[in-house]
Each structure stands twice: as structure tokens, then as C-alpha cells.
Symmetry: C2
DNA sequence: AATTATACCCAAAACGTTTTGGTTGTCAAG
DNA sequence: CTTGACAACCAAAACGTTTTGGGTATAATT
């Protein structure tokens, strides 16, 4: 690999001049520059990223460092999200460093290593919990970062994030179901360790309240993560006396909804919006949702918009523009709920299942 | 950020000793080491990655640098693949640097930058073409790399790769169709710039030949990439006299098959394996394939096995074990067709559509 | 008592850049 | 003829590690 020294020798100038020529400084003669550039091309010179970094230059790389969930229920969403984020980064001319963080590993260590040691210019967090140590850590490290999701104390902590309004989303679902005549609506929830899961459940409770329904604990499943647990929860609910059974089931994500579609027919229940059928809804609108049988009524998570805004925020922070930025893809469902704190609305996609 | 100097000062030793203590060398007293480790923890010291790199140390990072396709037909596969690769890298304790390479950008530049400048320990290529400049380039740079897919001259070039045997796969499909009575089988192909696409088409031709069928150019679509082009091709084929029409359509990937499922009913044709219906097959077995209506008969691409083997090969190369390695997930469908050249068999998944 | 071995430590070089704080020479203005 | 401005260049420091090639005690061996 050719270095700046090789070029300097060949050109008969100092390495300073080579560096400045290549970086477009004005204090080098145009002829000299052209000669240097020609030699650099000839030698196939490309600057060593590590050396450049060590000088505190930008890496043009951002990290995506989600905490890995033990249950891989969220894996399809992870793949979708990562893919979209990679494409979005590409549009900003950034590389994406994907570093998964295992649960049991020392969280602080991982993020300090990412933040403080010149590997990346900024970090995107995901899988935020109601109370998440990582926020304060990254703030103290003064690394540009944006979270996908928020903690409970987001107002006080004033960190930048993008979140999808799961609560409002599920409330829309409840409204939809209520208007279709449903009065006994069950909630099939995932593990409640992450904020978004709680948020969606919150939407369920608020939705019921708004329509004067009371929450029946027997109609709430939690910590569901695979077909077995869904099946168990469903059986319990459907063992209730006919008039106490749910007529609709709101799932915390598309995968749980998918399991419902698999389990219910086996128990002799039909799924759909007709009277006598059980209505089922999901959350995310993953690519398979529209192909399910019946097609799944769900909330579409605006993944592309999310990634776009995440990157808009992060690149602004990296450039040290602490002021709120304007977004490259302004969205009707976008609200600024604080400085650099963005809330996006999921879209209710009504299909055949509810 | 604390540096090695801060620790040295506090401990009253030289930076050499700090470095060696932290890196587990034997020439430092156990008491000294413990003191140094304690101070390091206290100061929340984490070594600067750039500095370490500059010394030629490993980065524990590998790059995934696919060439971006202009048509995004392959996008769902890209997402799936990237996600699985990230998870696989995680299991090897590696970070994954995703760098998309745009078509029009100077290819050489990108890969030289990745390879020569200490950002990553190795590279995974994808979207290989029959003749692909990148292979020779990376070989000349002496960077560890593995390709997903192969060039035409893979025997001569002797570079490591993992490929899925698209030719054998499609041949299996043809056999399946033939045995179900089909004699007029159409092929709906994507753009043929990438090797795998040609390979699949090759399987189609060979399959026909094996069963004594002759290829009818009117039954071959190429360069299909969206619903419109699929629709046009289909209409042309179905405008043929009844006895010359295809009774089965083999698509080059699941997305094209999906388009077929959308287009055919609108033209008054039913899809399935019954006489009178048109049989449709895909390739990839993306997550949605089983949910299509009718469920798609397709070839399952072993993405997890592919990524596992890619990483087995790459980590071995990084460790300088040029010898073929043993694979952590030995697969029945795995063949070693050359040193470090692995071929995996796709699995025929028969569902309702054919 | 002199030599050798061993344990422990360190100064300086090296990695390849960018940045700092100059110097030198030329030309125009005074 | 002097001064100042400007263009063009450069030596050295800096970034934070690891590695090289030692050194200096102390203990063990002759």
C-alpha cells in the first residue's frame, strides 16, 4: 500500500504538501497539486483510514447497535429495519457498522468502545427500555447519537430520538374494532421489557377507556413469544363462557398475529370481520402481512421514514448543528414533541382479518 | 477519554508496561498488572480503535460490500441476507460493516479503501458477475475475502466462495414439473448481469434437455423486474394458440413469482397443480412465500447455512489458515468444489402453486 | 566472586495521517 | 529601498497505541 511518503518522495515535496494538496487546501500551487494527484492515482494511493481517524477526522461511518433480544420474536423486524437503515445510510454516503449487543455483556463497555475510540461518527440505538442506562452513558460521552424509541423520562433527558407512536396506533385499532361492534377485545402482548411494547399495551388500555369499556385481565396475554405461548393464552381465553369470550384479538406485533391465524382455525374459530368470526389485528405490517390468510389488518410501521429521520437527525448532530433540522422526507404523520424528538404515526391498514 | 498515558501516570509506570499488562503479556508482575487493571477500570479506559489499528491489529470487523443493483428487485433478499449475516457475525464476535457500492462509483476505489486502510479484517463480496473485476483486485491486495456467488473462471482464479447451486435447483424444479405432466414450461428470468441469474436459466435449459424438451424462445422472458414487465411477458405468452401456451411458469426468484400470482388471475388463469391450472414456481423461499395464495412452490435458498459457511471461511482466512476448514454447521447439501470453494444445494419446497 | 538466568520494567520507534506554526521568495505599494 | 502582503512550501508535533530492543536488579549457578 502506497503511503503519503511514497508520493512525497516521487513528487519531491514534503508530506505536508501532499496531504494538503490531496485535501484541497488553497496553499498549494495548482501545478503541484495536479502533479501530486497524478502520482497518487498512479500509485493507487488511498489514505489509511486508521491514521486519518487517529487525527480525529470523520469516519463516514455510523453504528447501529441494538441490544439483542433473547427471544427472537423481533428478528424479522430487525432484518427489515437493518436493511432499510443500510440503504438509507448509503444515500447519505455513510457506511453502517452493525454491532449487536448481547444482553449479558457489559453494556457500558460496548458503547464506550464504540463511542470513544474513533470507529464511528455517531450511533443509532434501538430496543430502548423505559429506563435505559445507555442514554445517560452516551450523553456523558458526548457522542452524537439518536435513539429509535424512547425512555419514560424522555422529556427530562432531552436526547434525540425517533419513535413510532404505538399508543396512538393501537388506539386507532381499538376505535376501528369498536366501530365494527366489538365490545370484548383481547390483547396479546409480547414481553414488556421494551418501551414500545408497553406503549402499545397502553394504547389498548386507553382505547378501551375512551370507549367506556373496562379492561378484563383474563383477556390480556403478556410475554407471548412463540406459537406455544400464544396457543396457551388463546385456549385459556376461549375456554371462557361464550358471552365472556373475546370477539377480537389485538396482537402486539405481526408475528403474534400470525400465530393467532395459525392457532385459531385449529380450535374451530374462523377469523375475519363477519359476525361470529374473531377479528385479529397486528402491528408492523411486515412484508408477509398482506399475504396472510385472511390478509392481516395491522398498523404499518413507517420504517423508511423512521430511518430517514434518524439519519437526518444524526448527520445534523455529527455536523454539530444542534438546532432541529428539517427533514428530507417530511411526513404528514410527523410530530416534533421536543427538540430533536420526533414521533411518527403508524398507519392503520385495514384488510380482511378485522 | 482516558488514554494509556493517564493510566501510566497514575500507576507510576511506563506506557509500555500498561500496554503489556492490559494485553496479557507475561513480562509484567502480577501485582503491577492488577493495579493497572484496577486503574484502567477506574478511569473507564478503552483502547482507541484507530490507534490500535494503525499498529496493524485486528479490527474484529468484517465488511459486507455488495454492489447495489439498479433494479431493486433483489432488495427483499438483500435485507434478509444482511440481517442473517449480522446475526452470524455476532456469533463470531465480529462487527459487520455494511458498505453498499453504487454501480456508477469507481469500484476499484471503494474496495481498495476497504481493503488497504485498516478498517476491516476481511471482506464479503456479493452480486458476483460472470466476469468480475473485484476478484482479481482483492487477490492482488492480499486481503482476506470470500465471495457469495462465483465468476465463470472460478476454477482458474482459485478464490474462496460460497454459492448456492441455482442450476441444480432449477433442474429439480423442471423435474418436478415434468413428472407432474408439464411439457410446455416457461421461464421468467430477471436481468442476466449477475451469475446466479444466468445459472438459474442454465438449469432451466439443462432441465428441459434432460427430459427431451426443446426450448421455445417464446416461452422465455428475460430482464423482468417489476409487475409491468412481468405482465407484458405473460400476456405475450398467453396470447399463443392454446396448445402452444405454457402450462407452467418457472420464475427466477420469488418476487417474479409473486408478480405472476398477481397477474395471472386477472387474465383469467388459475394457478395450481390441477389440470387446466398454470403451475408457478419461485426461487429463494423468502418469508412471504408460504403465505401466498396459493402457497408458492419454490427453492429454498439456505441463507443461514450460506452465512455460516461464509464466516467460517473468512475467519479462517483472517487467521491465515489457508487450508480448508471444517464447517460449524455441516450441511447435507454442502459440496467442496475446490479449495475453499463451497456449493450449497437449494431445497425444493413443494407447496400448492406447482 | 564472577557468571548466568530470570523477572520486571522502560525509552524510543513505528504505524500514516493532519495540523500547527512557521519560513522563504516574489511582487506591489509606499 | 523598505515594508507588507501573499503564495507556496515544509519541519515537527500530535493523535494513541504496540513493538522492538534493550536495561537493571535479584537470585541462582559455577
Amino acid at each position: 500500500m502506497a503511503t503519503i511518503f511514497d508520493i512525497a518522495k516521487k513528487a519531491g515535496v514534503s508530506i505536508t504538501t501532499v496531504s494538503r494538496a490531496l485535501n484541497g487546501y488553497s496553499d498549494v500551487n495548482e501545478n503541484t497539486r495536479q502533479m501530486i494527484v497524478a502520482i497518487a492515482e498512479d500509485l493507487k494511493y488511498y489514505p489509511n483510514a486508521a491514521a486519518r481517524n487517529l487525527q480525529g477526522k470523520k469516519t463516514n461511518t455510523i453504528a447501529f447497535a441494538p441490544r439483542l433480544n433473547d427471544h427472537l420474536e423481533a428478528e424479522p423486524f430487525f432484518k427489515e429495519f437493518t436493511g432499510v437503515l443500510a440503504l438509507a445510510s448509503f444515500k447519505h454516503d455513510l457506511s453502517l457498522l452493525v454491532t449487536l449487543v448481547s444482553q449479558n455483556r457489559n453494556i457500558e463497555e460496548v458503547y464506550r468502545e464504540l463511542a470513544g475510540t474513533g470507529r464511528v461518527d455517531g450511533i443509532i440505538l434501538a430496543d430502548i427500555r423505559p429506563s435505559d442506562e445507555r442514554i445517560a452513558l452516551l450523553q456523558s460521552l458526548k457522542t452524537p447519537f439518536v435513539a429509535f424509541g424512547r425512555t419514560q423520562d424522555y422529556q427530562r433527558m432531552k436526547y434525540p430520538f425517533v419513535d413510532v407512536d404505538g399508543k396512538a396506533g393501537v388506539m386507532k385499532v381499538i376505535e376501528h374494532l369498536y366501530k365494527n361492534g366489538h365490545r370484548r377485545i383481547a390483547y396479546m402482548g409480547e414481553s414488556f421489557t421494551l418501551t414500545y411494547a408497553l406503549d402499545r399495551y397502553d394504547g389498548y388500555r386507553q382505547g378501551l377507556k375512551d370507549f367506556g369499556l373496562v379492561e378484563d385481565p383474563r383477556l390480556v396475554g403478556s410475554n407471548l413469544q412463540n406459537e406455544a405461548s400464544v396457543s396457551a393464552a388463546v385456549k385459556q381465553m376461549l375456554a371462557l363462557p361464550a358471552e365472556e369470550r373475546p370477539t377480537a384479538m389485538v396482537a402486539g406485533n405481526d408475528y403474534l398475529a400470525l400465530h393467532l391465524l395459525e392457532v385459531l382455525p385449529g380450535l374451530g374459530f374462523s377469523i375475519g370481520k363477519e359476525p361470529g368470526q374473531i377479528a385479529v389485528t397486528g402491528f408492523d405490517d411486515l412484508p408477509f402481512a398482506s399475504f396472510l390468510q385472511p390478509a392481516l389488518t395491522t398498523l404499518r410501521q413507517p420504517i423508511v421514514a423512521t430511518c430517514t429521520v434518524l439519519l437526518d437527525l444524526l448527520t445534523a448532530l455529527i455536523k454539530n448543528q444542534s438546532e432541529p433540522v428539517s427533514f428530507s422526507e417530511p411526513d404528514p404523520g410527523l410530530t416534533l414533541i421536543g427538540p430533536n424528538q420526533v414521533l411518527l404515526q403508524p398507519e392503520l391498514i385495514v384488510r380482511a382479518s378485522a
